[in-house]
């Protein structure tokens, strides 16, 4: 955990307080010792000084005693010796006192001077030797030297009497000063001791406070650590730090475990974390992206949109033993210290619900758009045509469902279904785009894509058909929606105040339409195809009025497919036509007429025609025939290849052609009516389809 600065400071303070405590105690000890020594010395001196104080009067008294003895002619020897001892003691003690430092110098000076003034008078007294008395038998008297001695004593006595008080005063002053100094030292010592005790007390308090604060700080740090741990264990986002080597730090949030299915992340590299979940390219980009954060140029806030891990699809345990798809969002943030970027913080969030929501929103929007498109194209189309289309689409889907319903267990059985499905879907798509019902056409196109994709598989099972049947359901729902819309639109038109609008509609037979509508549909499809493919051609339609109603749906299917083929393959681009000295605009003709007991439908374009060689090559490429078989085919047989299922000469797949379904639908429909179909061509000049149909039965006509 973080060893916070506060904590470090507290430790330093505690150490400083301890050091200070020791220093103060040492100082108190040293100063106190010196003061105590001084006081002890002073006390000795004081004793000597106060002893000295007695000497002047002692000397004075001894001199008096000496004189009185001389007066009474008594023995003086011991008094003289006592006086000498006193003076000598005084001298000694005084000298000792003079050596002391802590004396009031002026008082000491005066005392010294005064004492020294004793010397001249005392010296002759002390220096006296001999017998002061001269004894006779009856009388004793002072001897000659005795009289001199007496005079000296008397002088000294008087001097001492005169000066004793002064000397005493001076010595008392020395004592007093010494006493004052001692008192001062004692007081200093008292202060020192009090101060020392106070300082120790304060420092002790401070240390105790700091210790307490540290304990509290440690507790707070421990609590903070615990809280951090709790947060990391609870938070729903995955958090971790990455170092400059893209390795995960020692701390991470628990949510990562669920997201990545492992417990320990310490030291794990970012690459190891994601290796199985993203493509190597994405991982490389992500690594570079993170590297940008270590640099200085890139602004973190202005690179969110290029984050390659902004939305990562992963498969995760759902907590019930299964797997589910979730979306993770990786967010990267710089973590900076005083020396620049320290780490990159990575936050991983589960954004599944918002991804799904936005997807739903998008789908809903798309739906609304396509509904609007649908509405617009429906407003431009005849509701009867749409009704017809919806009927035939419903029939087509019913047929598709019937194909699916055929029992199948083997690859072959499943595979057989695909051709039928493709045919039905292709026809439906053709009709839908002829009516400009693009939302339907796109859905059918998508289904066709799925079927085409299955065709390439070597092993088919029922599982492969699940998406198709789901898509089929979706398409049915869509068609139902379209039908409802048509009914509402029709109701709207019928309620319109213009009676002509109703009257001008030639036939109000819901669910079917007549030859006029078919001609109009073809014209509209021709215009759309011309526009979509950048071709210029015109369509002429004749004789469809003769077409029996029962043949109309088939005829329509056939014509739509052939018209598409012409627009995509047949009619050449303008440049090519000009180069071939042809008219600028292409011509497509449709003729329907009675022929014998039946009918004949002719379809012709003046386009590029069919080349038998190209057809053969394409058929070989598509594995419809082998190269050997191709070599055997004559031109007529080669042309017939275009009626084979799976045949296409167009490399890429577009909405209008090239899916390998087209002419086989036409052929199958014609055979279904008991008719025949043939093709003739002149390369570079035209392609002509001739369809013969038998007489329509009565019931079919109705």
């Amino acid at each position: 955990m973080l060893l916070s600065g506060v904590d470090r400071n507290r430790r330093l303070l505690t150490a400083a307080a301890g050091f200070l405590l020791a220093a103060v105690m040492g100082l108190v000890l040293i100063i106190g010792f010196r003061l105590a020594t001084q006081i002890r010395g002073n006390v000795g001196t004081l004793q000597r000084a106060s002893e000295l104080e007695t000497y002047p009067s002692v000397v004075s008294q001894q001199l008096t005693a000496l004189r009185e003895r001389l007066d009474t002619l008594e023995y003086t020897g011991h008094v003289h010796a006592e006086l000498a001892a006193s003076v000598h003691g005084f001298d000694r003690d005084f000298a000792a006192l003079e050596r002391e430092h802590d004396l009031d110098p002026s008082a000491m000076h005066a005392a010294t001077a005064l004492w020294h003034s004793y010397t001249p008078v005392l010296t002759p007294v002390l220096a006296y030797h001999g017998e002061p008395y001269s004894d006779t038998a009856t009388n004793s008297s002072l001897s000659r030297s005795g009289r001199v001695f007496y005079a000296h004593v008397r002088r000294a006595e008087l001097f001492a009497q005169a000066n004793a008080a002064a000397l005493h005063r001076q010595l008392a002053a020395v004592s007093a000063s010494l006493q004052a100094r001692t008192a001062a030292a004692a007081s200093r010592l008292r202060w020192l001791l009090s101060g020392g005790v106070l300082a120790v007390l304060l420092l002790g308090l401070a240390a105790a406070y700091l210790q307490l604060a540290r304990a509290r700080g440690e507790r707070a740090a421990r609590e903070a650590q615990e809280q951090t741990r709790d947060i990391l264990a609870t938070v729903r986002e995955g958090f971790f730090l990455l170092d400059a080597d893209y390795r995960i730090g020692a701390v991470w949030s628990k949510a990562l475990t669920h997201m990545f299915g492992r417990e320990n992340f310490a030291g794990l590299s970012f690459e190891e974390l994601l290796r199985d979940r993203v493509s190597p390219e994405t991982l490389a980009t992500a690594t570079k992206f993170i590297k940008l954060l270590w640099g200085e140029r890139a602004h973190e806030n202005l690179m969110k949109s290029i984050n390659p891990l902004g939305q990562l699809e992963v498969s995760m345990d759902n907590g019930r033993g299964g797997k589910e798809t979730r979306y993770l969002q990786f967010d990267f943030h710089r973590v900076t210290g005083p020396k620049g970027v320290k780490h990159v913080l990575c936050a991983v969030g589960d954004i599944t619900s918002s991804v799904l929501l936005s997807r739903e929103l998008h789908e809903a929007q798309e739906n609304a758009h396509s509904q609007l498109d649908m509405m617009v194209s429906m407003l431009h189309s005849d509701p009867l045509q749409i009704g017809t289309f919806l009927d035939s689409a419903a029939a087509g889907l019913k047929h598709i469902n019937a194909i699916l319903k055929e029992p199948a267990r083997s690859h072959g059985e499943f595979s057989k279904k695909l051709a039928g499905l493709a045919r039905e879907l292709h026809a439906m798509k053709g009709e839908a785009s002829a009516l400009n019902l693009m939302s339907i056409a796109q859905r059918v196109h998508h289904l066709e894509d799925m079927v085409a994709e299955l065709k390439g598989r070597s092993e088919l099972t029922g599982n492969d058909f699940l998406p198709i049947v789901l898509k089929l359901d979706e398409l049915l729902a869509h068609l139902r929606g379209v039908r409802e819309m048509t009914l509402r639109l029709t109701a709207l038109r019928d309620n319109s105040p213009s009676p002509e609008a109703t009257l001008s509609t030639p036939a109000l037979r819901i669910g079917s339409s007549g030859p006029e509508e078919l001609a109009a549909t073809l014209q509209s499809l021709a215009r759309k195809l011309a526009q979509d493919h950048g071709k210029d051609f015109s369509l002429t339609v004749n004789g469809l009025a003769d077409c029996p109603r029962s043949y109309l749906p088939t005829v329509k299917d056939c014509l739509i497919q052939m018209l598409r083929n012409s627009a995509v393959h047949g009619i050449e681009p303008d440049e090519v036509r000009r180069a071939g000295a042809k008219s600028a605009g292409g011509q497509v003709r449709v003729d329907f007429r009675r022929a014998g007991s039946g009918y004949e439908l002719l379809f012709e374009d003046d386009g590029a025609g069919l080349s038998p060689e190209t057809l053969k090559e394409a058929a070989v490429r598509k594995n419809i025939i082998t190269a050997e078989q191709a070599a055997q085919l004559d031109n007529r047989a080669a042309l017939a290849l275009i009626f084979k299922p799976g045949f296409s000469t167009r490399a890429e797949v577009s909405m209008d052609a090239g899916r390998g379904t087209g002419m086989d639908v036409v052929a199958k429909a014609v055979y279904g009516l008991g008719g025949k179909i043939g093709v003739s061509t002149n390369p570079g000049r035209f392609t002509r389809f001739k369809i013969a149909l038998p007489a329509a039965s009565e019931s079919a006509v109705a």
């Binding site: 299964g322 019913k398 469902n401 029922g462 058909f465 699940l466 789901l470 359901d473 049915l476 729902a477």
Partner: protein, 148 residues
């Protein structure tokens, strides 16, 4: 509208039952949309789904298939009750799978079992039923899924 992974979950639940119970997985046939009345075999196990989604899922199988299945499971009791139990078990497995994969979105009923009598099927309005043939050995059953 039914999603592909949902349909897969139901289908897998069914085929896995065969694999686990009889050590021989079932295969699925060509799926299609149900038109008209549902075709029932002899025994049917059904679960109802409510909650955010509504619908019904049932597994219906002929007596012959169930008999062989019981045999493969080393059972010796081929009574009416055993058959009922068996289709109930299949429905249970399907329901477990669905709970595991979709959790809270689905509230799944306890399976109900029908034998012979015409079951009460409350198909949700606006949802078509998907029929997925289940092939096992030489027999065929059906899984029917209808979900809004």
């Amino acid at each position: 509208m039914l999603r592909e992974e949902e349909l897969k979950t139901f289908v897998d639940g069914t085929t896995r039952y065969f694999e686990v119970a009889a050590q021989q997985p079932a295969t699925i046939g060509s799926p299609y949309l149900l038109e008209g009345e549902p075709a029932m075999h002899d025994y049917t196990g059904m679960i109802n789904i409510t909650g955010k989604r509504e619908g019904v899922v049932y597994f219906t199988a002929p007596r012959a298939m169930l008999t062989v299945l019981l045999m493969k499971m080393q059972e010796s009791d081929f009574s009416h009750e055993s058959m009922r139990d068996l289709v109930g078990e299949v429905a249970n497995t399907i329901s477990g799978n669905a709970r595991r994969d979709f959790g809270h979105d689905f509230v799944i009923s306890v399976p109900s079992v029908f034998a012979g009598e015409k079951p009460q099927i409350s198909q949700p309005a606006g949802a078509r039923a998907f029929v997925i043939p289940i092939h096992w050995r030489s027999h065929s059953a059906k899984l029917v899924v209808s979900l809004t």
